[in-house]
């Protein structure tokens, strides 16, 4: 039977890029954009993208029951890939929008980049926008064929902090070192946009479609 890869649609913008990039690297899998929690549960693999504000993102997930579907996918051991705000939503709490409780799949926090930069005294632009290097924090099947310190495309103003080191799959430096990729068991989540990161990003997506956690 053909594998189904669900791309979670919760009305938060550009899913076209993620699904088109997945279609480009898929070999036989069906890419299904869906907002139906049952279809998400039934899928073989799940991609959880996201852009925009975390408050709106979490509110929609809770209203639609997609939050529970994501927890069920995690518990069922199926591969789950979080992207950008999708990664942030998997952490415990974000300080964006005056503080929002997130899904708590990972125990880290989400903090504003600008305030952290203030400590170093460097005047760096926020959002962190463009191609930055990702230093791989561990060997992982998701990094297969991707050079250490390869560049990926980032666009974000908030980043993960306080993630246990054993769960940090990749680091990025922008004024300060932060977790650019986190993982545990069947979940992998990235702050950057693999769907916009040319060959390195497409390789990561291809790895996800093959990943057998």
């Amino acid at each position: 039977m053909t594998e189904v890869v669900a791309v979670i649609d919760y009305g938060m913008g550009n899913l076209h890029s993620a699904s088109k990039a997945l279609e480009k690297v898929a070999s036989g899998q069906t890419i299904l954009i869906t907002s139906d929690p049952d279809q998400v549960r039934a899928a073989d693999r799940v991609v959880f993208p996201g852009v925009g504000a975390i408050r709106d993102c979490i509110a929609v997930l809770r209203d639609t029951g997609l939050d529970q579907a994501i927890h069920d996918v995690v518990a069922a051991g199926k591969p789950l890939l979080g992207i950008c705000v999708g990664m942030q939503a998997l952490l415990a709490r974000s300080e964006e929008n005056n503080g929002i409780d997130c899904l708590g799949v990972f125990s880290g926090q989400v903090s504003f980049l600008g305030e952290m930069l203030g400590e170093t005294g460097n005047k760096l632009k926020v959002p962190h926008m463009g191609w930055n290097q990702v230093q791989q924090g561990m060997a992982h099947p998701m990094w297969a064929g991707i050079a250490d310190n390869a560049r990926f495309y980032f666009v974000h103003s908030y980043c993960a902090t306080d993630v246990p080191e054993s769960e940090v799959a990749g680091y990025c430096d922008y004024g300060r070192r932060f977790a650019a990729a986190v993982t545990r068991d069947n979940v992998f989540a990235v702050q950057f946009h693999p769907e916009k990161s040319a060959d390195a990003g497409l390789t990561l997506l291809e790895n996800f479609l093959r990943w057998q956690p």
């Binding site: 076209h16 890029s17 088109k20 279609e23 959002p127 926008m129 103003s157 497409l202």
Partner: protein
């Protein structure tokens, strides 16, 4: 090790065709925006900007179709600007596959539009395009004003103040074009680029006037730009994107090679 400066080729597209002549030696159809975007992607461009100069209303559907085509085949960020006036315009472009949308004259006519757009879609996809022209005399301190209608119509708005206001309203990036330099090949207006870059907390793309690779270096090092946009030097194959990246890296600028 860190964030790379970006090189952004810009395509002017009219009713689904690239205009101002792209002249690649071995390209099959230099008027096809999808073909041209793919070539720039293969050449190592960090992003692509697509300026829609379609005049007719019907042409808008062509634009959306073109954006869709590019986004299905080119996996680097795509910014689309030109004629963006409503939240629906933005939604349509994002749904078609644009990653960022450029707002220009609509921001001048209704600054609140930028605030609404950033609230609805997020600052990360709202680029405010600023066309500025120097209005101070040689003996006076530098002052630049916002112009509309391709640099013909002054607005009375101070460019630096305007850029700050736009970022306060939620613009995630500023695309800054010097109308004095645009098309001259004399290089960016460095003082303008530096003034805006120092004034705003968000990334600034320098545009207007690139004639050689040293101009790109100057825009970043002297002007403080986070990205450089160029059209003709790449379209007419005077330099490749790879040439530009090597030159900039040799000048000590961090690039994605």
């Amino acid at each position: 090790m860190g964030l790379a400066k970006r090189i952004i080729p810009c395509l002017d597209v009219d009713d689904g065709r690239v205009v101002k002549g792209v002249q690649f030696v071995d390209i099959r159809d230099a008027g096809d925006p999808v073909e041209v975007a793919k070539r720039y992607n293969d050449a190592g461009a960090d992003e692509i900007t697509f300026l829609d100069i379609t005049a007719s209303h019907e042409g808008r559907d062509t634009t959306l179709h073109t954006v869709e085509q590019i986004a299905s085949q080119v996996f680097i960020p795509l910014t689309v600007g030109g004629g963006v006036r409503t939240l629906e315009d933005i939604r349509n472009l994002l749904n078609a596959g644009a990653d960022k949308v450029g707002i220009n004259s609509a921001a001048v006519h209704n600054p609140e539009f930028v605030r609404e757009a950033a609230e609805r879609f997020g600052s990360q996809c709202i680029v405010v395009a600023i066309d500025a022209k120097k209005v101070s005399a040689e003996s006076e301190p530098n002052r630049w004003e916002i112009f509309t209608h391709g640099g013909r119509k002054p607005t009375g708005l101070d460019a630096v103040e305007w850029a700050k206001r736009m970022t306060d309203y939620g613009a995630g990036e500023i695309l800054l074009t010097s109308m004095d330099r645009d098309g001259t090949k004399n290089g960016f207006d460095i003082a303008l680029t530096r003034a805006i870059s120092d004034a705003v907390p968000v990334p600034v793309i320098a545009s207007g006037g690139v004639g050689n690779l040293q101009h790109l270096v100057d825009g970043v090092i002297q002007g403080g730009a986070d990205a450089v946009l160029a059209a003709s030097i790449f379209h007419f194959a005077e330099y490749t994107v790879a040439d530009a990246k090597r030159y900039m890296q040799n000048a000590g600028i961090e690039m994605r090679l």
